[in-house]
Symmetry: C2
Subunit: 432 residues, 2 copies
């Protein structure tokens, strides 16, 4: 704890420990442990779940900590499917320890089951693997490589499925990366996070884990496999969606149902009680194999109106091997036809660079499919070398491009692989 | 027409003109005029509305062109509100002229009303202004300046409101730009587009214009004003939403209801019959004044996991005066706390540049509000100088930044204006 001596003195005198309900000045909330910052500012977790800092010495104890959590011994039930949990950090794998006042990670199977006793009625969490712990916004491709290899190891050892817990910030990018790094994986690989921390009444982590467990327990009989996310499907606490790793996007900063299946139905709907409705089935050959080669020199560019296309040259000069552009509408950018200053024409720059660095278009609109055949500006961009990626999410496109370039640098092969559906990232056209 | 002589010969022999229903090889559709490309490829508009090219000499006429459109004389009805239409190009203001085979713009009040006779029952379109015509993806801030000044002129001349038609690609950017360039404008300024071209049965242009007309006709009595978009509200053809120009985002490539009100309710729902439900009212002082100063050297950066923050340095070196970053989650980027290689820490780069170039965070998730108080990584970014823009859309943020920097370069003033609600771009926090 790094509260100032003055604050520590007041807390001690009043028998206040982290987790106690207290009043500081005019604010009421739970005392939070202080990890950094000004030691005279008391951090409170408000009823809304958010933390605020209050600078005041007027501190009053209102109630003792609400709960103490004890890890329970878990018994192995051979009738239930064996599951490993790979823990990487993030909101879901942390809890506030009200005894010590620190934030600790849930790194032990017994502790996870102690927190969420429902899990042991569904699966055997026989192993918790912690390859690294980090907040997800600082992940990169090397972390995904570690995860893919760990999943391969666990599934080859006979697990019915693997649950990966991580921070939600880039959970959808991880799901996309693992979708390509575990080609056609024949068992469920479920990426799970929590939008709200585990000490909040509205925390979603427990339900997301319970639904993921149901999914793995029933996956074989329901023929569900592949990489996907398992997060709240709606505002209420009664079901999750298992969304394909290449079709999922985080679309809200804080809502528990922030993860949406874009341009495709979720694979399945899993109710908290264990009822599963399957919306999509895959019909390809399955295996267990990590294929993690990845070229990190890939860029995602989101133009705004009037933006200078020189940004493309910047990436080419820096040695980038492939570029995704979030084009406007059905696949348009500022074009030779309309821009007087040719230096400001995106198609003009694309025409020059696309001979050595492949350039792809994905939709800036998030939803929908690109179509080069409606407007001549899009055809101009296509003629200049831009390859249209159908209904692929731009975030998925840039991850896929890294994976494809990890396997080949041959221009035509790269383009061909990018427009070939490898992991459900391109869905069939519903109309021509 | 630039069809090859061979194709032109076959068309002539069979009395086929653009607009005729024909069969080419195995495909059926309407013959389209050919503006460019391979003259041996016949362009057909399919029933779905999309164009394809077919290389075949096997051409058969199936039916004459479906319709001929004649402009009608419009009479001035002094009982109806006077409205100007500013036409800038895009799908909504073009029609295929089946007589000449060319694509022509609707540049005449009589012609617009001739196409959509319902309009004259609602308003007097007494003037059509065509400052320029261009597909919208090639717009820049200078176009918005022209539009804002034109709107000012029309409203000062006594118009009840102005309709601006443009391509839908960047319609939401235009609506945002005009929201700032026409501060607190006291009459409705309605930006309208069409997702589907006017020769398609599913074209949305007519209904969008009719609803915009209803809105302007009733605006005074309903106390509706300000800049917004008027586009389909749902899948059916019975209502539009008038969405605030600073809260609208295009979220689908092709659907007619692609424009969504993000983090706020639409201002109003307008049924095709003219019934209007108002959801939001403004309580500020109104005026008519174009204030178009704009600094174009502003950048929008969308990081992906593992992205190199050197992109920030690139923009600073190029003389950019302000930067918007689409941060992950509640406002996180790869941080000093977690990234081993400090060159890859975004907060580290932000710390250096934010002293001379202001850096702002908006949400990569599209929906939701940033919050620097939940995670220490966000607080680290904030301490490094990143200014959090609440629930402001990133696209709106970068336009606002250009407008603010057009008025002041003084760092603290820029930051203060960016976090101040100027045109409804920041909505009140629903919970703390």
């Amino acid at each position: 704890m790094s509260y100032s001596k003055k604050i520590q003195g007041i807390l001690k005198k009043n028998h206040i420990v982290p987790g106690c309900k207290i009043r500081v000045g005019e604010k009421e909330g739970l005392l939070m442990p202080k990890a950094s910052g000004d030691g005279d500012v008391v951090v409170l977790k408000l009823k809304s779940g958010y933390n605020i800092g209050v600078r005041s010495l007027d501190i009053e104890k209102l109630a003792e900590p609400a709960r103490r959590i004890n890890a329970k011994k878990v018994e192995y039930d051979p009738a239930k499917p064996k599951v490993s949990v790979i823990v990487t950090g993030g909101t879901i794998s942390s809890k506030v320890d009200y005894n010590t006042g620190g934030v600790t990670a849930l790194l032990d199977p017994n502790e996870i089951v102690g927190q969420i006793p429902e899990l042991k009625e569904i699966i055997n969490i026989h192993k918790v693997v912690v390859p690294f712990t980090r907040m997800s916004e600082s992940f990169d491709y090397k972390d995904w490589q570690v995860l893919a290899k760990e999943v391969e190891k666990r599934l080859k050892a006979g697990d019915a499925g693997v649950i990966i817990t991580q921070g939600t910030d880039i959970l959808h990018y991880t799901a996309a990366a693992l979708s390509f790094m575990l080609p056609n994986v024949g068992k469920p690989v479920v990426v799970v996070g929590s939008q709200r921390s585990t000490d909040r009444g509205s925390s979603d982590g427990a339900m997301n884990l319970i639904c993921a467990s149901h999914l793995i327990a029933q996956a074989k009989s329901l023929e569900i496999r592949g990489v996907g996310t398992c997060m709240h499907g709606g505002m209420s606490d009664d079901y999750c969606y298992f969304i394909r790793g290449t079709k999922v996007r985080k679309l809200h900063t804080s809502r528990r149902d922030a993860f949406k299946s874009v341009n495709a139905k979720p694979i399945a709907r899993i109710s908290l009680s264990g009822k599963i409705d399957v919306y999509q089935k895959d019909d390809f050959e399955f295996g267990i194999r990590a294929d993690t080669k990845f070229e990190p020199k890939v860029a995602l560019i989101k133009p705004i109106p009037g933006a200078d296309p020189d940004i493309i040259n910047y990436y080419v000069k820096k040695g980038y091997r492939g570029i995704i552009i979030e084009a406007f509408g059905l696949g348009q950018v500022a074009s030779d036809q309309w821009v007087k200053d040719k230096k400001m024409s995106w198609t003009s720059v694309i025409r020059k660079v696309s001979k050595k660095v492949p350039v792809f278009f994905a939709a800036q609109t998030v939803y929908g499919r690109l179509n080069p055949n409606v407007y001549s500006e899009a055809r101009e961009a296509q003629a200049a070398g831009a390859v249209f990626l159908e209904d692929m999410l731009s975030e998925v496109a840039v991850i896929k491009l890294g994976w494809v370039l990890g396997h080949t640098k041959e221009m035509e092969k790269v383009k061909e692989m990018m427009v070939t559906n490898l992991a459900g990232e391109i869905t069939e056209r519903s109309e021509i």
